[in-house]
């Protein structure tokens, strides 16, 4: 049904998993603490699923990320679709071989004989005082890896719709959930949102902010603020980072003549570099200002509050970057 409900991202992800499990008996969920015996996850994202669909389909695992992703890959080769959870994105570092050398490459290396329809759900983000090993945005690594798609919703409705699409996708998808934003509520329509399509969250004529995940909200705040001064900022939420929606982003910059990419990940060698390089080349000689990037500081995520706050781009950082391009 198309009724719109208000819920937060925890509930939206839970609902998407619920609807997917109900729709297709071949869909499985696994990860640390995901079953109800373990309270449906440390944040409760998978609460109720094992009770509703059985412990065989929603399985808690030991702490063994290589085995988790390997089990997901193997089961997918056996005809299932698996949603595997890697609790925090930094923990993908112990499973990179399974993700990069196997999940992303098996279709190509087998000449299309096999494919790996799995979704790797993972949460991350600074702002929780979790320090250097629990907060990184590592999407650039996966965007640089042919064969795996990278999705990062910024709100509950996108979380629902993109997760449904990721599960339906025939190739591996890494699905990044912004932990500090989990509890922000919003309207959710139970509709699938196709991968690879960005959304113009706010229209504007003076400058385009290309962003995603945790940086959409502060970007919109800046647009809102500057609107008062008659500065019209367009905000494009990528939603899918790889493959990214060149068409929508280019159309927006074509219109505004200015582009700013904003992400929480460390700026250097981040996703923003690819988009800035592409736009600077494509619009060479036709832009009103250089394409700039705002990203996380070049350091591990610090613990102490003032440092952690300073690490991630703030409304002020984004605003001054926008003003710099309009000056």
């Amino acid at each position: 049904m198309m009724t719109t409900q208000t819920m937060n991202t925890i509930q939206a992800v839970n609902l998407a998993l619920h609807d997917a499990l109900a729709a297709d008996p071949k869909i499985l969920v696994l990860g640390e603490d995901v079953a109800d015996r373990e309270e449906g996850g440390v944040v409760g994202v998978t609460k109720g699923l094992s009770t509703a669909f059985g412990d065989d389909r929603v399985k808690s695992t030991p702490i063994a990320e290589q085995a988790i992703i390997g089990a997901a890959i193997g089961a997918s080769l056996g005809g299932y679709r698996v949603v595997a959870e890697i609790m925090l994105m930094n923990f993908t570092t112990v499973a990179m071989d399974m993700i990069v050398n196997h999940a992303a490459k098996l279709r190509f290396m087998s000449g299309g004989q096999t494919h790996v329809p799995i979704v790797i759900r993972t949460m991350t983000g600074s702002g929780m005082s979790n320090g250097g090993q629990h907060s990184d945005y590592l999407e650039a690594w996966f965007a640089h890896t042919p064969g795996i798609k990278v999705v990062a919703p910024s709100n509950p409705s996108d979380a629902y719709g993109l997760l449904r699409a990721a599960i339906e996708d025939d190739d591996p998808v890494i699905f990044i959930e912004n932990l500090p934003g989990y509890w922000n509520a919003g309207p959710v329509t139970r509709e699938v949102i196709p991968l690879g399509k960005a959304s113009v969250t706010r229209e504007g004529s003076d400058l385009t902010i290309v962003t995603y995940a945790s940086m959409v909200t502060p970007s919109l705040a800046v647009a809102e603020k500057l609107a008062g001064e008659g500065i019209n900022v367009e905000v494009v939420d990528l939603r899918t980072i790889a493959p990214w929606d060149k068409e929508t982003v280019r159309a927006s910059v074509e219109k505004t003549g200015r582009g700013l990419i904003v992400h929480e990940a460390v700026k250097e060698f981040g996703v923003g570099a690819e988009i800035a390089a592409d736009l600077s080349d494509h619009f060479f000689g036709r832009l009103k200002a250089p394409v700039r990037r705002v990203g996380g500081a070049f350091c591990p995520v610090p613990y102490s509050k003032p440092l952690e706050t300073a690490f991630a781009p703030s409304v002020a950082d984004i605003e001054s970057a926008v003003r710099g391009l309009l000056a």
């Binding site: 063994a64 089990a71 193997g74 399974m98 279709r107 290396m109 087998s110 000449g111």
Partner: protein, 327 residues
């Protein structure tokens, strides 16, 4: 090893056919390389023929295997057809992977050869997932993970065995202990004298057998496979063997003491098997010769077809990265 299931005459001949195919195919590959016709990193399984031959006679079509770069013996024993195998080695579009995977990634799902990996240890997590799928399917199928002695010291081994034992998955972990990992001897890389001793640490059945002895290997494999089909969980089989060539063709294996190599070749398991078949009267000299002749002929057909076939078109770079072709 006593009271093992005995190998009947028909089975013995079936095993001989597989071993002969593996041995003659290996010699043919090396011949093609020496002739400069085939240029590829080739990891010869010579000396390890009995292990997959004696194991595979207890496998069905629905059973799957994951193996490694040194895996043509495992594949041929499981039923990987010669034509797509040779065409893949030759990098042709008619290869099982359209030439995209190559020697280290030979794949053929129809025969149950699901994954061939070039990463040490990585056959295990994926086979564990295939075992999970088989358990969910409930049809009594099993998954086999082939790996070497060196792979028994990497993390993926540990995570896979713990998970497979915890979930009582129908997986047979076959460690083909050929005493060397590249240039490193078993004793210089492993802190225990028998790898099967590690099984107890997972509450898993484990056994060390002479993998070159058809009775021991057949018996141990049959027990493990029956156990898995019966839902009684995984088994770790350490199959002692030896490799007759360097790590890959081109490696002179100077790190292997001459006497060690000589005494191993003296006990050539294929020669021993042939003697055994004759001694048992399972087949006559003439019958075995006929088998060998037929196999050699089939191999020649595959070799010829392979090198006659076309090389893949550059457009293949854009195919099989994802389900759809890239622009």
């Amino acid at each position: 090893m006593s009271n093992l299931p005995k190998v009947d005459a028909a089975t013995l001949v079936a095993i001989y056919k597989k071993a002969s195919l593996i041995r003659h195919n290996d010699l043919r590959v090396i011949k093609a390389m020496k002739a400069g016709q085939l240029v590829t990193p080739y990891y010869s399984p010579a000396g390890q023929e009995i292990i997959p031959s004696a194991l595979s006679v207890s496998l069905n079509d629905g059973d799957t295997i994951c193996t490694i770069y040194r895996g043509t013996h495992d594949m041929l024993a499981k039923g990987f057809p010669l034509e797509p195998l040779w065409a893949e080695l030759a990098g042709r579009v008619t290869g099982s992977c359209k030439g995209k995977g190559g020697t280290m990634h030979l794949t053929h799902p129809e025969s149950g050869c699901m994954v061939t990996t070039g990463i040490v240890g990585s056959s295990m997590p994926i086979a564990t997932g295939l075992g999970w799928a088989a358990k969910l399917d409930g049809k009594g199928h099993v998954a086999v993970a082939n790996f070497g002695d060196g792979a028994a010291n990497i993390g993926a081994f540990h995570e896979s065995l713990n998970l497979a034992a915890l979930w009582k998955l129908p997986v047979i972990f076959v460690c083909q202990n050929n005493r060397y990992a590249e240039h490193t001897s078993f004793a210089n890389s492993t802190s225990v004298d028998e790898l099967s001793k590690r099984a107890a640490g997972y509450g898993m059945a484990g056994v060390t057998v002479n993998g070159n002895d058809v009775d021991e290997m057949y018996g141990a494999a049959k027990i493990a496979i029956d156990r898995a089909r019966a839902g009684e969980g995984p088994t770790l089989i350490e199959a002692l063997t030896f490799r007759f060539n360097g790590h890959l063709i081109g490696d002179a294996a100077g790190y292997i003491p001459k006497e060690e190599m000589a005494s191993a070749k003296e006990k050539d398991p294929f020669v021993t098997l042939r003697k055994r078949v004759l001694a048992d009267g399972a087949a006559s000299e003439a019958e075995l010769d006929a088998i060998d002749t037929d196999i050699k002929a089939r191999i020649e057909v595959a070799v010829e077809a392979a090198f006659k076939a076309d090389l893949p078109d550059i457009a293949e770079l854009k195919r099989d990265v994802f389900a759809y072709e890239l622009a």
